[in-house]
């Protein structure tokens, strides 16, 4: 199991890197020590009474020395407060949480697929897969060119909904095109993004018989498996629901009903 901790961590920097997108770096040797790609942290975005009640979950985007990096979109009050952090501020973090991506399976090429801010966990994953000596092809979809962020990724292909950068269309269509043009012996998809994208991807992976692992989101209260809030339906009969925070966030596309 994880050796998770709850810590006050010093913010190193918090910078806007694309439209409504921020890169937050904070110091936590303890979390860095045990973090693996696909895991997440759960952050108190403000002191009690000065912001929303619940913590907010974010994928670990990269680790470097003793630093954890997060990439996030400002979508509501919690992410708005988080984006206001400055060097010298402290944030209350629990992590690392959840099960990492299963990176050690039997495949040659890793197809990394992200929609929007789903790109967040990919830099950490990329770095790790390179160690395993895997070939990496990355596909990222955004609404428009203003959102594009591809740092620390390998062999990136971009899709935008409005065609303002790269392929004009969604990222699953882009991946399908690529799969039609290339013939893989053994590939594995690692994906993160909105549910509608993950559904389409599950469908594609099935048609193409490619193993596919999805990093899910889910409304969370605790993030550590005690509230039973973040249920996702399983496909097998053993137990009806899995917990995104404890059994995931990474699941095989064949394991869950989205």
């Amino acid at each position: 199991m994880n050796s998770m901790v709850q810590q006050l961590c010093p913010v190193q920097s918090c910078k806007k890197i694309a439209t409504d997108t921020f890169l937050l770096r904070f110091n936590s040797p303890d979390i860095v020590a045990s973090a693996q790609p696909g895991q997440f942290v759960n952050i108190l975005t403000a002191e009690i009474g000065k912001g929303p009640l619940l913590r907010r979950p974010f994928s670990i985007s990269r680790v470097e020395d003793n630093i954890i990096e997060l990439i996030f979109h400002v979508v509501g009050i919690g992410t708005n407060l988080l984006s206001q952090n400055q060097p010298g501020d402290w944030i209350d973090v629990i992590g690392p949480l959840g099960q990492p991506f299963h990176r050690d399976a039997d495949y040659g090429t890793a197809l990394l697929v992200a929609g929007g801010i789903g790109v967040a966990p990919l830099p950490f994953l990329t770095n790790d897969l390179l160690k395993y000596g895997k070939r990496i092809e990355t596909f990222v979809g955004y609404r428009n060119a203003g959102q594009v962020f591809t740092k620390h990724l390998q062999n990136v292909r971009i899709a935008t909904d409005d065609g303002s950068d790269g392929f004009h269309g969604n990222v699953v269509q882009l991946l399908e095109l690529f799969l039609n043009q290339n013939n893989f012996q053994k590939a594995k998809i690692f994906a993160c993004g909105p549910t509608v994208m993950l559904k389409a991807l599950t469908e594609l992976a099935k048609r193409k018989s490619i193993c596919c692992e999805l990093s899910l989101e889910g409304q969370m209260a605790c993030g550590i498996g005690i509230c039973q809030g973040c249920a996702v339906e399983r496909t097998e009969d053993t137990a009806k629901y899995a917990l995104v925070c404890k059994d995931g966030p990474a699941f095989l596309s064949t394991e869950v009903n989205l």
């Binding site: 994880n2 709850q6 509230c227 809030g229 973040c230 249920a231």
Partner: protein, 322 residues
Amino acid sequence: MTTLSIGSGIKTSFTLRGVEFKNRVFVASGTFGYGDEIHDLVDVNRLGGIFTKSLSWKPRSGNPPQRIVETASGMLNSIGLANIGVQTFIEQKLIYLRTFNTHIIVNIAASSLKEFCDVLSLLEGQDGIVGYEVNVSCPNVKEGGMNFGTDCKMTAEITSHLRKLTNKPLIIKLTPNVTHISEIARSAESAGADAVSVINTLVGMAVDIKTRKPKLSTVTGGLSGPAIKPVALAKVYEVAKAVKIPIFGIGGIASTEDAIEFLLVGAAAVQIGTMNFIDPAISVKIADGFENYARENKISDIGTLVGALDADVKFSVIQSWL
């Protein structure tokens, strides 16, 4: 379990039907799992005790997602009492729980009187359980889904049947979604309950205006967290005026100060719920907070705070014009 008072000389412990609890701070059912996932983040041995997630006879998979909605200073949940079932609990969790140096009280939920009795009977044979908390905020399948805990007779019936089955502390956990919670509390008391827990969650809902669907799959759910603290305090106060048995005060407790409010209005002990999610160490901080408060105020026994509210008796809960 012998450290009943701490080195400071302050008495933190209390006794319920012969069971001594090391202090008056507990974690509430459903907000601490079975103590195994969270023990990295909090020293469970520092607690007065752990109330387990509600257990039913068979495992329950729970409600479909979405099960959680955040609200202003609160949250709605519709977990659907997802639990592993009493048999699996005994086989898989209890052994581990026994290793804790704190008391385990098993919370029981059921959809019939028989199920309540079956679950308790099965647990009676087991070591490591000091008592039971009975979640009567469940639909009675026989009575067309009517909530047990909204009815004095049904509450009394469950209590008296369970009373016959156990000699351990029997605690009835009341729902706040009633006109007169004191009447339900009195039924439980007369039927032999050793204590009542006050309160379970308030019925609430939230709507996604984009999809026009309820945010929770079950339409309504249970509201908890700091938002409900004022309601919970008023319910504990009402119950304290009506019964002589001890009360576990629950609802929105987020600090030592909050917890002391509950003691003053009449709670013998407190349970921390939702705030475990936000700060897993909160319950131990409150246990420490009680001692610090006692020290600063030269109180030798935390128990002297229970019901020590200095209130003008001419006003009662129902009579004041709001």
